[in-house]
């Protein structure tokens, strides 16, 4: 009987968590209106959320692109289709790997930092102090971080894809000696703006929204203790990663259906 009670309790906690996150979201969205009056807050967060993530995204994109160059070549060369390497790399990057890997890196680099920062503010009662001074912490602290995450993610994903394509070119043309012209030509005839590029951008928008939401929510509702903040940070990375992969499957299935 006891395990049944524990199972039920676990489910209720998850549902409760979800409900609290759902109630939290409209409040944050409404609070973003402060940014029309104080855009400086958003710029500050775009710096720490977006700009600081550029380096890891560029380096990861380059390596993933180079890896795709090798793997794609060894798959395609069996069919004598290695001239389509550019197409294979471009489709992998724009449709899947660009948005998904960037979102995972973004959750690890920016999401965890957001949760830890907000959680510590809460643990040291800075958020309560703001409320005492009639400053809305949702507008002053949460909203700029949330919006910065939503804006940065699609840009970072696009950057990842572009750098990855360059990495694929380096390996394909530089190392494996594929014709550079056919690398670009196969890409341009095979990639569709709406199905592939726009689909990838939509994915990255959704991922940015979800990761930013999870990160600020976990931080804002972290237990006010050192252990609580560390647990919240872990939860952000784990939940965000699972949400990204789950949503990616769902969106791919829907977009695949349309083709």
């Amino acid at each position: 009987m006891n395990w049944l009670r524990q199972l039920g309790g676990g489910v209720i906690t998850v549902v409760q968590h979800l409900g609290r996150a759902g109630v939290f979201l409209p409040g944050v969205m409404a609070a973003t209106s402060i940014l029309w009056r104080r855009p400086g807050l958003l710029i500050q967060q775009l710096y720490s959320v977006g700009v600081m993530t550029v380096l890891i995204v560029v380096v990861a994109g380059l390596f993933v692109g180079m890896m795709l160059g090798f793997q794609g070549y060894y798959t395609l060369v069996d069919f004598g289709a290695e001239s389509s390497l550019g197409l294979a790399v471009a489709l992998f990057l724009t449709r899947e790997l660009g948005p998904v890997l960037t979102a995972l890196l973004f959750a690890g680099r920016a999401g965890s930092a957001l949760t830890a920062e907000i959680g510590l503010m809460k643990a040291t009662q800075q958020l309560e102090a703001m409320e005492m001074m009639a400053v809305d912490p949702l507008g002053r602290v949460i909203a700029p971080r949330f919006l910065a995450g939503c804006i940065s993610m699609p840009l970072l994903a696009a950057l990842f894809s572009v750098v990855g394509l360059a990495g694929g070119y380096l390996v394909g043309v530089g190392v494996l000696d594929i014709d550079g012209g056919s690398y670009w030509a196969s890409m341009q005839t095979g990639v569709d703006v709406y199905d592939d590029i726009l689909g990838g951008i939509i994915k990255s928008l959704v991922f940015g929204f979800v990761v930013a939401w999870i990160a600020v929510f976990e931080g804002y509702h972290a237990e006010s203790s050192t252990a609580g903040v560390s647990r919240a940070t872990t939860r952000t990375v784990v939940t965000a990663a699972l949400a990204i992969l789950g949503l990616d499957y769902a969106m791919t299935a829907i977009m695949f259906d349309e083709v």
Partner: protein, 154 residues
């Protein structure tokens, strides 16, 4: 870091990010915003082989358009394809013929146009009457086998 430096780096980040997106759309997706400078003609084929949408349409080997759509004509069960041709090449004679060709032995298929001699030109919505279907490799091999068998019989 000063406020000004932060604002500059953020501006740079936004600029590079948006530029990356536009570059993906224009260079990788081959998106041309000015699609209105095209006109469409249709052509019917008995068999289009492995022709796909977006395959190039060429004139003397030069790409002048793309295959816009592929469908079936309900009346005579032939394949009906729509060709989107650049407005710059609006001087194709009405007796132009279209053939489905293959680049290389097993490469991608494309539509090759061969201009005729009429004085009037194809316009938007016109139909190319003279067409030559794709060569299906299996049919070709089948014919060769039959011919070889006939010669052996003799």
């Amino acid at each position: 870091m000063t406020r000004k430096a932060i604002e500059t780096t953020v501006g740079l980040f936004l600029l590079i990010g948006v530029a990356a997106m536009i570059w993906l759309a224009l260079k990788v997706g081959n998106w041309s915003p000015a699609t209105t400078h095209d006109y469409e003609v249709t052509a019917r084929f008995n068999n289009i082989g492995g022709l796909t949408v977006k395959a190039p349409v060429t004139l003397a080997g030069v790409t002048i358009g793309r295959v816009a759509s592929i469908g079936i004509d309900a009346d005579d069960y032939s394949a009906r394809i729509t060709l989107q041709i650049d407005q710059a090449h609006d001087n194709l004679p009405t007796d132009t013929s279209a053939a489905i060709l293959t680049s290389g032995l097993l490469g991608a298929q494309y539509v090759g146009l061969d201009p005729g001699a009429e004085e009037t030109y194809l316009e938007d919505g016109d139909r190319i009457e003279i067409t030559q279907s794709a060569v299906v490799l299996e049919h070709l091999i089948g014919q060769i086998l039959i011919r070889t068998a006939e010669e052996l019989d003799r």
